[in-house]
Amino acid sequence: MATLARLQARSSFLRSQYYFRNRVVDVFRKKEYDAAVKIQSWFRGCQVRAYIRHLHKIAIIIQKWWRGFLGRKMYQLVVKVAYYTMKMNLYNAMAVRIQKVWRGYRIRKYCFNYFYLKEYLRAVSETNEAIRETLEEFAEMQEREEKKANLEREEKKRDYQARKMHYLLSTAQIPGIYNSPFRTEPDPWELQLQKAKPLVHPRPQVKQMYSPSLTDWLACTSAHSFPQSKFLPPITRKKCQGPFRDINEVLEQRYKPLEPTLRVAEPFNHLKLSREELRRKEWVQNVNDKMFLPFSSYHKNEKYIPSMHSSSKYGPDSCGEQHFRSENPKKWICDKDFQTVLPSFDLFSKYGKSYSKAGQII
């Protein structure tokens, strides 16, 4: 309480002191404030700048690392690409080299093979020589043949000439013109004439209005092309002078076909021939070659040949005739027998039984 009292005692003094002091300070208060702001601003500016600098430094570090990382990555890629390109270039170059050599080799071997070409040309010229020779031979042969044919033709002509001149042959009494007595030896024609046969005089041919030969009718070039028709009366023929019959009648008589009498026309062994004919006809109409003969003795000596089906060693098989299924029921697939769907014919079931009594139906 004392304190309070002391303070209260001092309060007026304090109040004045306070006022006084405040008034003194008031003068400097603005200035001090400004100065403080300045100091603060400077300090804060420094602080923030330092912080920013710090941040920058850190960002640079991060960027440095990051860029380094990216760069290294890119570098690897670039290196890879470069390596790849280099490799490819090398490969291409090598491929070109191989192709070059191979193509050169192939073209030289298969397309422009000089030795082959040379060989080929040599072969061609050889073939040419061979062909020339062969053709030469062929031509020669042809010429020879033609010469031969010509000689033959001439020979024939000479023969014909000799035959025509055969009358010039010398006789025992008179020497012919080719056998002159003033010559040492006879002319070769004489010998030819001796060999030749005299030519007979051709009979004077009856001149025909039409040429009968048609074989040479080609291109309708010959004037006389058509033969006289057989059916026409020969109108060109002149009638003979004198009391003769009409020419047509004579010709008819002359070219009358042969008319044999009945006796001549019929053969003497007519009966035999007709029998033969009949037999032949029958034979044609027969279905079976073996004659059916009713006599039992005719077949007596014939051995009976059983059919293959019945002569089997294992006995005749009744399957398909009497039954259509195995008789052993164990072999059936199902244990039921076949059922008849349709009713059976009465008449058929009596087969073999019904006609027993002399044709009477029971």
């Binding site: 061979a130 062909i131 020339r132 053709l135 009718w217 309708c220 009366p233 109108i235």
Partner: protein
């Protein structure tokens, strides 16, 4: 008595008819009578006689008509206009072989003049009956019918097609196999006429199996038959590669070459036509011919004949050489070039010369070796003179120019070129365009030779030399000119080294 008189009248009438047709047929043989006969109205008189009761009158009337139609086109037209053809067709079915022959002769004579007349023959239905006649027993009838068919099909493709449609080809192929030479010949010529128009018709002939039979007959001794057979084969082969190969497959090859040695000129000509038609299609076929020695045979054939007979052979060499370098070389080593140059100089006709020039161009255009082979036979001056000659035809000039250009572009053989320089305008044209040729020209010393030529200034030759020099740079021209080394030495002498 009265009966006899009646008969007499008939007899006289018959006699007169027979005599009339015979006389007309005989008169129609001579050309000078034909106009008189025509003016006398012979066609209208002969027409009723075609329907005569007596077969021989009919035949002779048909024969006379055929001869008249054979003479000229007007008469043939008159026969067509008078409606005689349907009558012939109608009566041909029931008549004998002589009548058939005569009727076929009329058809042939009418259709030979023009396509219109042949069409008229086709329109009146003659083809059917002619084809039936091809089946006749008588070879003469077959021959006449085949001949008529040949004249019809000769004109154009439509008529040939009509003949083929009527089914004539298989029967013709049968006719080829007959023993008669004349029939074979006519049938082969008909096949050739049919096949010549277009590939389809040729195929029709091939499909009927004609080739083996035709190929067999190449060896026959008859020249005319051979001629027709070769012509038929070449007409078949000319259309396309397939047909040519089919012809080759019939193993004609060594045999055809004997035809080139034949005495008969037509056989030779047709043989070389056949070889040519086969060779022109493909390098393989040409190669086949070369391998079989065909080129040598053709060259021999060219050497052994003259004029138009050697033309197909010459063209064949050109075709073969055009296909490839090796084939051209084969032609050269078969001694084809000297033969061709002989042809070029000795043939009088322009078209043969043109073909020869073309063939030489085809041979020489491949490499310098080929060109040299052509050049050493001294053909270039001949070609040049032909090109320059005023009387040469345009075609010949063009061919000469082309083949010279072809050869000169490859030619490096200087001695051969040299004579050309004195009078050659066209070969200069080659140089400026082709740098390779220029280079060859320099390296082979041609330029040097040119500079050595002493020509008076202002002459034509000098002009050409200048033109050539213009194609090269100046230094090179100077280098090659004759005084150059002296001039160089002089310059060395007179040179004053600059004193310090």
């Amino acid at each position: 008595m009265s009966q006899r008189q009646v008969f007499n009248v008939f007899e006289q009438y018959q006699k007169a008819r027979v005599q009339f047709v015979q006389m007309v047929a005989e008169l129609a043989n001579k050309p000078q009578n034909i106009e008189i006969l025509q003016n006398a109205g012979v066609i209208s008189l002969l027409r009723p006689l075609l329907l005569d009761v007596v077969p021989s009158v009919q035949q002779t009337a048909a024969l006379a008509l055929g001869r008249l139609a054979n003479y000229n086109e007007d008469l043939a037209e008159a026969i067509v206009k008078d409606n005689i053809l349907p009558q012939l067709v109608y009566s041909m079915t029931e008549q004998n072989r002589f009548y058939k022959k005569a009727a076929a002769f009329v058809f042939r004579a009418v259709s030979k003049h023009s396509p219109q007349l042949a069409q008229a023959v086709v329109d009146c239905g003659a083809l059917g009956i002619l084809v039936i006649c091809l089946e006749d027993f008588d070879p003469g009838v077959k021959e006449a019918a085949a001949w008529a068919l040949g004249y019809i099909s000769r004109h154009n493709a439509e008529l040939s097609q009509a003949v083929v449609d009527e089914g004539a080809v298989p029967l013709l192929v049968l006719c080829i196999q007959e023993p008669e030479i004349a029939l074979k010949r006519v049938a082969a010529s008909v096949l050739s006429d049919i096949a010549k128009h277009c590939p389809e018709l040729a195929h029709a002939v091939v499909d009927a199996g004609a080739i083996p039979h035709l190929a067999q007959m190449i060896v026959s001794p008859n020249a005319k038959l051979k001629c027709q057979v070769l012509s038929a084969l070449s007409q078949i082969a000319k259309h396309c590669v397939d047909l040519a190969e089919m012809v080759v497959e019939a193993e004609i090859f060594p045999v055809v070459l004997t035809c080139l040695k034949d005495k008969d000129d037509d056989v030779k000509r047709n043989g070389s036509i056949l070889v040519r038609e086969i060779a022109k299609h493909s390098p393989e076929l040409s190669q086949l011919i070369v391998n079989r020695g065909g080129v040598a045979a053709v060259i021999d054939c060219i050497s052994s004949c003259k004029g138009s007979i050697r033309l197909p052979g010459i063209m064949m060499l050109g075709y073969v050489a055009a296909h490839s370098e090796n084939l051209a070389m084969a032609v050269i080593i078969s001694k084809g070039v000297p033969q061709l140059s002989i042809c070029l100089s000795e043939e009088p006709e322009d078209h043969i010369k043109a073909a020869t020039a073309w063939s030489l161009g085809q041979i020489g255009r491949h490499t310098s070796e080929h060109a040299k082979a052509v050049a050493v036979t001294n053909t270039l001056p001949v070609l040049l003179s032909l090109y320059m000659a005023a009387e040469s035809s345009e075609d010949l000039q063009v061919k000469c120019e082309k083949s010279m250009k072809n050869i000169l572009q490859k030619c490096t053989h200087v001695p051969a070129l040299e004579p050309l320089l004195h009078d050659a305008p066209p070969n200069i044209l080659v140089l400026p365009h082709d740098s390779k040729a220029r280079r060859f020209f320099v390296t082979s010393g041609g330029l040097k030779k040119i500079q050595q030529i002493k020509a008076e200034p202002g002459s034509l030759l000098q002009e050409y030399i200048n033109k050539i020099n213009n194609c090269y740079p100046e230094e090179i021209v100077r280098y090659y000119s004759p005084g150059f080394s002296d001039a160089l030495l002089q310059r060395v002498d007179s040179y004053q080294p600059p004193t310090n």
